[in-house]
Amino acid sequence: MRTSSLAGGGMLIGFNLFQACKPKAIPPVDLSKLTYTDFNAFIKIAANGAVTIFSPNPEIGQGVKTAMPMLIAEELEVAWNNVFVEQGILDTNNYTRQVAGGSQSIRHGWEPLRQTGATARQMLVNAAAARWGVDASECSVSEGVITNAAGDTLGYGDVVNEAATLEVPEDVKLKDPKDFKIIGQDAQNVDIDKITTGKPLFGLDYKKEGMVYASVLRPPAFGQKLISYDDTEAKGMPGVINIIKIGEKVQKLFEEDASFASKISSSDKVVVIAESTWQAMKAKEAIKAEWENDILMESTANHDQMLTGFLDGTQFETRRKDGDVKKAFSEADMVLERTYESPFLPHNCMEPMNFFADVTDEKVHLVGPIQTPAWKAGLIAKLLGREEDDILLEMTRMGGGFGRRLYGDFVLEAAEISDAIRKPVKVVYSREDDMAVGVYRPAIKYRIKASVKDGQLTGYHLKEAAINDNMYGLIPNFFPAGAVENYQVDTKSYKSNITTGAWRAPYTNFLAYAEQSFFDELAEVMEVDKVQMRLDLLKKVDAEADESIEYSPERMIKVIETAVEKSGWGTQPKGVHQGFVNYYCHNTHVSEVADVVIENGSPVVKKITCVVDCGIVVNPLGALNQIEGGVIDGVGHSMYGDFGFDAGMPTATNFDRYRLIRMKEAPKVEVHLIQNELAPTGLGEPTLPPAGGAVANALKAATGKRIYQQPFVKNPELLKVPEELIIG
């Protein structure tokens, strides 16, 4: 095996070398029949031409395990059907940015992954050319077979030995998009056979010889700490191996590394170690623990008052200020001000949090679902006082991430437990643990105020009040920044002991609904066309003059115009009530139109038309799945997602009291992709935020009532359709 460093990208290509050569590349069906040796990079080529590509980034359902290898295969010039895909392990020497987050995997992988494939292809061609004694430029490649001017052919497997000894070319040429054969074609999820037959894939499915199971008793409420516990009964229960207390190591780590501060994680915890998951979970219930309360045990009612107080107050941090909004408001013909409210949201990955750890003197073996493996490996090294080289971290396919698996408190728990008991152990959260020990989307309130003078939008002032910080950064430069002369964004947050963090499309998952509802209402009071108002504003934006403006007005206009056409906006028959939105986040431009109809006197979201410009679409089949899912997830959480706290205790800990959208409530999503040759951007998040706005605007059209609070079902009165609006 050989690895070579690439200029710039810091990435490596590894070849596995085999002696025998066959002319045509036809990989065997059974990969296990090939005896690959160890590897540490993206590509393996066997002597018979079989190609295995390693997908570097964690797979949480966003489809990168399929799409990232497609980028390599495209430039490697092999047939996609002949490629085997495997999940890469954490390897910070050979891979960069092994993270699932921010919809960035494809955007960041676009150049380096194609470079990786192209470099490998060029080395294989150079090897064949050298053997033939011809110039490499005379050779062509198709589906893993190299052909020279005389018509001689060599398979990749024939020359892989020689190729691996050659210099790594640094000036390989990437394909023109018009020559793509794999990118832009539908590719099935690479794990589809395993998923549909129930093969072990997920962290919860992982097993190792001698493995035991751990169930962890954590404080039931935020603000509590363990004082003492009685495990007499639990100890005598079937299958219980040991009951220990952990926390000391994590508390010490937090003193050194505040980046991972999380109060609930830093309390002492009681761990039941048992022979099976069920035995561990049952025995945990039998532990009698005493908890000490913080001075303030927080409740949603207090949060509500506090956030409203912030919005009514004057103490803000200003994130962006253009012109003078106060002056604009004082000179206005008309001012509109509205406040929007959202609850906390748990992530509720279908696969509850879990992780495997096996700490020995030789190494620390970690296996499981984690969106940020490198970050966690670094923390574990600090936690256990080990070298990072001691850590072997394998990522499993994840039963959802949605941001929850960025945090990895469960990885720390698994490592601390295995270090204490020196056994391979898997920590498994019950659903109740998972929902109650969350890193929630924070509760937020927005107040938006706008001024109109001579029919023009002259001022726009957005105030945010949030629990903890709301990951500020990009919001101030989102639309309508750049389109309004007097523009200001102010924020204030309350430092809570409830843990909050990134939740699918952080900082926009609620903001988009608030803003898009506001625009809708603004157009109504201005008595202008809702779509035309947006287009007029976008035409005022000079994104080149203002470098902070990340969205492209041109791309947004195209998306909006396409949505108008495809949704039949303004031309729907009576009885179909539409709501319009457009949005930019995670580098992708989106427009959505919701169709609401009245059935049995109630409004029903029937369909969402979604137009997306994400540049080149790597895998349309996967892309559509992401878009459909993002939209329905956005509709579901806007309609039903409700979560709060009472004296630090979560108001729901399972799906009997926490409502997720289900089949009968899911609208049909009709997707239209803008065709262009711009570099691709991600799809895991950007279609979610605007969906709530589209539904709210359509509900307004259907019921005549505007909803200022999520979830929409919280105020059933607002979902009632007045008699006079029901069309028979």
Binding site: K207, S276, N654
Partner: protein, 153 residues
């Protein structure tokens, strides 16, 4: 702990577990059949759906005693080689995103279609309403059930 004889995917198995152990954990931890998933433990999400004498049941909410000699089929035993019409439809439509809930979805759909191979839109939606897909692949689940119904009718 009592010993139970159970029939899973056509094979007789003997397991020693306490009487309150849910079938879900017997399958996953004792029989290495991890295709059946844990999602909520209270019969709300459907990730743990198996067939008990052909009827879709929540394995998280039943014990071996409640099985009372009935045969279990799990996702691993739905077909020998993953070619049950529902599995084929799932592949053709490319339903999964994260994939975690899909075994439960497939087990619900296959039991339903055995009893109603000519379902209406409403029938399909009612049948699948009990299974949560957090990635919200509902449009494709619907399409795949419809496709499988065509094959099974």
């Amino acid at each position: 702990m009592p010993t139970y004889q159970i029939k899973v995917n056509g094979e007789s198995k003997s397991v020693d577990v306490s009487a309150d152990t849910p079938v879900l954990w017997v399958l996953r931890d004792h029989l290495d059949l991890v295709g059946t998933k844990y999602g909520c433990g209270i019969g709300q999400c459907g990730a743990c759906t198996i067939h008990v004498d052909g009827t879709a049941m929540r394995s998280c909410s039943m014990t071996l005693e409640q099985l009372n000699g009935k045969s279990i089929t799990t996702i691993e035993g739905l077909s020998e080689d993953g070619t049950h019409p529902v599995q084929e439809a799932w592949k053709e439509v490319d339903v999964p995103q994260c994939g975690y809930c899909q075994a439960g979805q497939i087990m619900t759909a296959s039991a339903f279609l055995e009893k109603n191979s000519n379902p209406s839109e409403e029938d399909i939606k009612n049948a699948m309403h009990g299974n949560i897909c957090r990635c919200a692949s509902y449009n494709r689940i619907y399409k795949a059930v419809e496709k499988a119904a065509e094959q099974m009718s």
